[in-house]
């Protein structure tokens, strides 16, 4: 299916929902589903960009980029579009940055069934308002992504996980730009990337031992807290926290976070501006997804 067919299928009336590979919640039940275009259109290693349909599986994108020694900072499973509109980063966010920084341009379909271009194809661009950032994390409530141009990054020459029982604060203070630092309240895991000799020297200096990454990451809840609050997690249950980031993979769900009324009002107005009839992923309330 191409972009025009996708737009036609979405049309301009009646409730409609977007279906991917259902790894992140899936479409709204009882609503007519559509699927985004699938497939990689091009890879440009010297530009560090890639263009693909939003319905392309993340694994397929990853394999295509691996052939050029590159990757994109989107966590595995599901479709590229699904990963973007949910917006959750992977365990390497400390080094790779958030998902929102990967989307350079998208052609999305709006509530009137029109194809809209947001952003631009180059790695640097400040032409107009940044609608790409609005769409990442919007859970398909403002428009459905059709195709996307993403920023890629070079794969590291060498990577190695380490562990230590030193507290994460002292570990972080000794390392230069680790890719990931995880902490379960007792042990700290560190992922280092780069030249093999530099990785080993850093690990030796910080007295880190080689290890596998933690294998049982709790999935009961994904918490988002200020990184300075992570030490307060002790005693709340089983968790693995991303140090320096503030994502916590917890056995329990996070208690609801307060929402400032002006923020709720901005959400209401945005939804009204982009989808006045509330036809796109109806019933999905991004403020309740916390």
């Amino acid at each position: 299916m191409d972009l025009n067919e996708f737009a036609e299928e979405i049309g301009s009336t009646g409730p409609v929902t977007i279906a991917g590979l259902a790894t992140r919640g899936g479409p709204v039940e009882g609503v007519r589903p559509v699927m985004a275009p699938v497939g990689i259109e091009w890879v440009q290693p010297a530009e560090m960009t890639v263009c693909c349909g939003a319905g392309t599986p993340v694994e397929e994108l990853d394999a295509a980029l691996a052939a050029h020694g590159q990757s994109v900072a989107i966590p595995p499973t599901g479709t590229v579009g699904g990963a973007l509109v949910v917006g959750h980063s992977g365990l390497r966010r400390l080094g790779y940055g958030p998902v929102r920084d990967t989307l350079l341009q998208t052609n999305y379909v709006n509530a009137r069934g029109e194809i809209v271009k947001a952003g631009g194809p180059t790695v640097k661009n400040v032409s107009g308002f940044d609608l790409c950032r609005l769409l990442v994390g919007s859970h398909g409530t403002l428009g459905f992504l059709g195709d996307v141009i993403l920023r890629t990054r070079p794969r590291a020459q060498h990577e190695q996980w380490f562990t230590t029982t030193d507290d994460p604060e002292s570990v972080v203070a000794q390392l230069y730009r680790p890719t990931s630092v995880l902490w379960d309240g007792t042990s700290t895991w560190v992922l280092l990337e780069g030249d093999r000799r530099d990785v080993e020297t850093q690990a030796d200096n910080a007295k880190l031992g080689r290890a596998d990454p933690p294998d049982d990451v709790p999935t009961g809840g994904r918490w988002s807290v200020a990184p300075s609050e992570l030490p307060n997690l002790i005693g709340t249950g089983r968790f693995i926290a991303e140090i320096g980031v503030g994502i916590v993979h917890h056995e329990h769900p996070q208690s609801p976070r307060p929402i400032d009324p002006p923020i709720a009002e901005l959400h209401r107005r945005l939804k009204f501006e982009f989808d006045p009839e509330g036809r796109m992923n109806p019933g999905v309330d991004v403020l309740a997804l916390g």
Binding site: Q44, P45, A46, E47, S89, R93, D101, V116, K117, A118, P121, T122, V123, K124, V126, S127, G128, F129, D130, R133, L134, G137, L142, P154, R155, A173, Y176, R177, G194, D195, R196, D198, Q202, R222, S224, V225, A226, P227, S228, V245, G246, I247, R257, D260, P262, I263, L266, H267, R268, R269, L270, F272, E273, F274, D275, P276, P282, D285, V286, L287
Partner: protein, 472 residues
């Protein structure tokens, strides 16, 4: 209710409400060559005072324009039709620093370089480093999503902003996002960055701080042709390296700068690349070797690796003095800012030389080659009749060839007034309507910096037709 100026004076005191002719003429413009008009300039010191200024402007039915240091090059801070200027100059404090988690809260009027200088003892800095960093404000960086040489590896301002406290166009104060990584709901902070003062006034900013690198190598590579230089850039990136910075200077620029600072620059070469790599010792040395090898594949003439901090500083001074140097060629300059795919650099640069020739103008190129961000600098003498028109026409052609090559209108200076009417070169009416929707959600009455970015102003729907509290 008194007059606009009286009401503002009651809030801020007469010393911080300026309406004298010399000051009004200063705040009528920014660093572009555009001018507007303002009735009054306010110098608030707190969020509450900014809020008062916005509310008073609203009450008097007058628009307002946020302003940082006024170094913007696209007319973003130029007030139109007597708008109230809200200048953040006096809001220049660092509010807090979290060294461990590498973030800080700062006021918007803090100067970019002051922030990094004041963090030096902690081994941290604010990564975006616009060439104007000695004078531009963090608030202006946020509003324009500023870039700089070191944004190649570390990303532009948007990647370094965690949260923004704002006064919304209706005077409400709230905070967009926070120190936490995945705030609930839409990425409102992401929308605000780059919004050029049209979604409200930033009154406090939470910035991400970056570790200073343990090692730095800086080198100057020069080439007999611009193509060789540009292909070296593409070669480096395709080989899987993202240096901290890759800047290019063309021959005219090298000559102008050399005459100015005497740094032994390769004035006989068509182009030179200033490449900087940072990191840990082995990776650093390996990258330098690979970059030099790639440069040799593309016929590099000489490779000059800075031997010490003084030489490194001198090479960077060469890059950063371009503006001072050109003042010696002609009294006026017009600096453009477009982006093209890196692989199109040779082709687009050739067209830029051709355009400048055709309009009988001199053009110097000094730019962020690593991310394809061109900065053609047209030098001229405004006193020569007809010159300004030729500069304008040449500029428009440069923007067109950049977009036609698969590029964009602006890489870091923003759209403002300067490129507002070029937006249709890149966006359809439908695309622009979506951008207007964002503006309407934040500013339904269009009171925050009106007349910028969007070629036709937003006429917003009536949200009140939706029942209060209903999530549709």
């Amino acid at each position: 209710m008194g007059s606009l100026i009286q009401d503002l004076t009651v809030e801020l005191g007469s010393e911080r409400v300026r309406s004298g002719p010399s000051e009004l003429s200063l705040y009528r413009k920014d660093a572009s060559n555009m001018e507007g008009s303002t009735a009054v300039v306010c110098l608030p010191e707190t969020t509450a005072e900014v809020q008062s200024c916005v509310r008073i402007a609203n009450r008097h039915g007058v628009a307002f324009v946020p302003r940082g240091s006024g170094t913007g090059l696209s007319g973003g801070a130029v007030p139109l039709d007597g708008a109230v200027v809200i200048a953040t100059t006096r809001m220049d404090q660092i509010l807090s620093v979290d060294q461990l988690n590498r973030l800080a809260w700062v006021q918007p009027g803090l100067l970019n370089l002051d922030l990094s200088n004041r963090l030096q003892h902690l081994g941290l800095h604010f990564a975006p480093d616009p060439s104007s960093q000695q004078t531009c404000s963090i608030g202006g960086n946020v509003a324009n999503n500023a870039g700089g040489p070191h944004c190649l590896a570390d990303g532009v301002t948007a990647s370094h902003i965690l949260a923004v406290q704002v006064v919304l166009p209706d005077g409400t104060v709230t905070t967009l996002a926070g120190e936490e990584p995945e705030p609930v709901g839409y990425d409102l902070r992401g929308c605000f960055v780059g919004s050029e003062g049209m979604l409200g006034v930033a009154t406090a900013v939470c910035v991400r701080l970056t570790q200073n690198p343990p090692g730095v190598m800086t080198m100057l590579l020069d080439f007999a042709s611009v193509e060789d230089g540009a292909e070296t850039v593409s070669g480096i990136i395709a080989a899987g390296m993202v240096p901290a910075a890759v800047e290019m200077m063309d021959q005219l620029c090298l000559q102008a700068v050399e005459a100015y600072i005497h740094a032994d620059l390769p004035v006989d070469s068509a182009a030179a690349l200033l490449v900087e790599v940072v990191g840990l010792p082995h990776g650093l040395a390996a990258d330098v070797d690979r970059i030099v090898a790639i440069a040799h594949e593309h016929n590099v003439k000489t490779v000059r690796v800075a031997q010490n901090e003084d030489e490194r500083a001198l090479l960077w001074k060469g890059r950063k003095s371009a503006f001072g140097a050109i003042a010696r060629i002609k009294p006026n300059y017009y600096l453009h800012d477009t982006v093209v795919p890196r692989t199109k650099l040779p082709e687009v640069l050739a067209k830029i030389y051709e355009i400048a020739d055709r309009y009988e103008l001199q053009v110097l190129n000094v730019f962020h080659a690593g991310d394809g961000n061109l900065h053609p600098l047209l030098v001229y003498d405004a006193r020569e009749p007809g010159t300004i028109e030729r500069v304008r026409l040449a500029g428009e052609e440069i923007v067109r060839v950049s977009v036609e090559a698969g590029g964009v209108l602006s890489g870091e200076h923003g759209i403002g007034l300067e490129k507002r009417d070029y937006m249709p070169l890149m966006f359809s009416e439908i695309d622009l309507a979506a951008q207007r929707s964002l503006r309407c959600a934040f500013d339904p009455l269009g009171v925050a910096n009106p007349g910028k970015v969007l070629p036709s102003p937003a006429s917003c729907g009536d949200i009140h037709s939706v029942p209060e509290g209903v999530w549709i």
